[in-house]
Symmetry: C2
Subunit: 304 residues, 2 copies
């Protein structure tokens, strides 16, 4: 079982392991296609909260698994998340020039390479999920991990949320119902965070039925995270965010602050965070040292 560490010490150590893993899997290359690899590195290694891999590691440990088994699969989730940002920032999508405090991939490398770098990041993610952890005994888990992440990231999950988000931008914000906005956030952000939590349980050896409540925990956390994101877009500075703030309002996008006001949105983020923690307790995992609770609270009560 888990040794007791202060949550921040554990999370910091994991972050360093995740960064090292990402640097390793994105090794620079020579040859005719070197540019697309440079673009992949630029996208991934420029900072980021690494919330999805941290969630996988924390859940794996809380489920009694070994974090080293889920380290590479967790890093793969960060590649999936980053590919979605690279494509989302394209001129044809959100048209954003700044991400994680640096110029976006298409600004530095051009649109075509940004499209290809996103494609290659998604593909590499599945290669890593299919090959880690190695060994014959883990083969079934690896196949399940690919399926789990693909469902969370595809048309029934994250990409579906992005499509609905695109279409919602073309509607008058006041005509958007709260349930629809929740659907968008649950798919665009909640699905992959649910997948991250489930992936941690999977590589701790938990079967599909037993890990389902952990998926719900991740989804609930995702929704709380996204409400916090909407609030930050409306209130934080570009310097703090590392991306262009106020974009939602300018693009006429429906957000929690626009639909409910700032104060009510803040209350809803807290309420949704507590709902996530309730799911966590219901899942019956041992968060003895409070690292999952600390990660959940930190993901919602953040300044950037």
């Amino acid at each position: 079982m888990s040794t007791l560490y202060p949550p921040d010490t554990l999370l910091l150590g994991w972050r360093q392991e995740i960064e090292a893993t990402l640097g390793h899997v994105l090794a620079d290359a020579q040859g005719p296609a070197a540019t697309v690899r440079k673009a992949m590195r630029h996208a991934v290694l420029g900072g980021g909260k690494r919330l999805r891999p941290l969630l996988s590691l924390a859940v794996c440990r809380a489920c009694g698994g070994r974090t080293e088994d889920v380290l590479v699969p967790a890093a793969a989730l960060e590649l999936v998340h980053t590919y979605s940002l690279v494509h989302d920032d394209l001129p044809a999508m959100d048209d954003d020039a700044l991400r994680r405090g640096r110029p976006t991939v298409h600004v530095v490398f051009g649109e075509a390479t940004a499209i290809l770098a996103g494609d290659a990041l998604l593909t590499l993610a599945f290669e890593l999920l299919a090959t880690h952890p190695p060994g014959d005994l883990a083969a079934a888990r690896r196949a399940d991990a690919v399926a789990l992440v693909a469902r969370a990231a595809g048309a029934a999950g994250m990409v579906g949320g992005q499509q609905a988000d695109l279409e919602a931008e073309r509607m008058a914000p006041e005509s958007l119902e709260a349930g629809h906005l929740r659907w968008i956030h649950a798919h665009k952000t909640g699905a992959l965070l649910g997948g991250a939590a489930e992936l941690g349980a999977l590589h701790a050896g938990w079967d599909a039925v037993r890990r389902r409540p952990l998926g719900r925990f991740g989804q609930a956390l995702g929704l709380a995270f996204q409400i916090a994101d909407d609030i930050l877009d409306a209130t934080a500075s570009e310097e703090a965010l590392g991306k262009t703030p106020g974009k939602d309002a300018r693009s006429g996008k429906a957000t929690y602050p626009l639909l409910f006001g700032l104060a009510e949105s803040r209350r809803m983020a807290e309420e949704q965070m507590e709902a996530a923690l309730a799911e966590l307790r219901a899942a019956g995992v041992a968060d003895g040292d409070g690292v999952l609770t600390a990660l959940t609270r930190g993901a919602v009560r953040r300044q950037a």
Copy 2:
């Protein structure tokens, strides 16, 4: 072992099974993200030679496997191929309005949805590879299949070839060396066809060492196929091709006809096709009814 059928009868039956499988895995959906699913269907179900899945089925059978084991994984390869076309046709890439005789995805659904539909097709492909054929005994094969296809499709394979192709377009065609053009084609087209052949052997139970010559066969076929493609782009009509011909010349792209002339290119396509058939013989598979040979010759000696 294989029953003897005329190759064309077998290939026609397989094509019908592949079409039915593609229609099934791309079932229409309701809800907020229905548009992206419509775009996926538009991209995939509008025709196409289905060369990659046919190659997987033919190799699987020639290796003594059951074609029903590889049918869904083979269909997944067609999704990977189609996603690459959808992204390649985007204005930021090749900017093409016509594909398989129909308007391209971004022309019908807009650029943003075309990017997302491509992303979702790639993601669905990996979900299918990770889940088919079902059963505990096939789990290791499924994980290997994901890794095999990801390597063929990613930065070290198809996407790397597309990146190099993009950069080559910005060079003066006469400055491009034959070896570089061959590298581009081997990656852009050869890698996934090599993967298709290997996938067939994998699901017939052949291990990595034994299936390597089949990968080389697929790669060699891919190169022959691409030389034939270059020739058709320079000579065929839009009606026959189902896509805009003469694009290579207009975009100043280096091609086999431009570097070597039409007659020499035709000779090279035949030579490369014979090299592919020699790899096939070296792999030691039983092409008793000649279906692999027929598929290879048909892929090169085609009118569209």
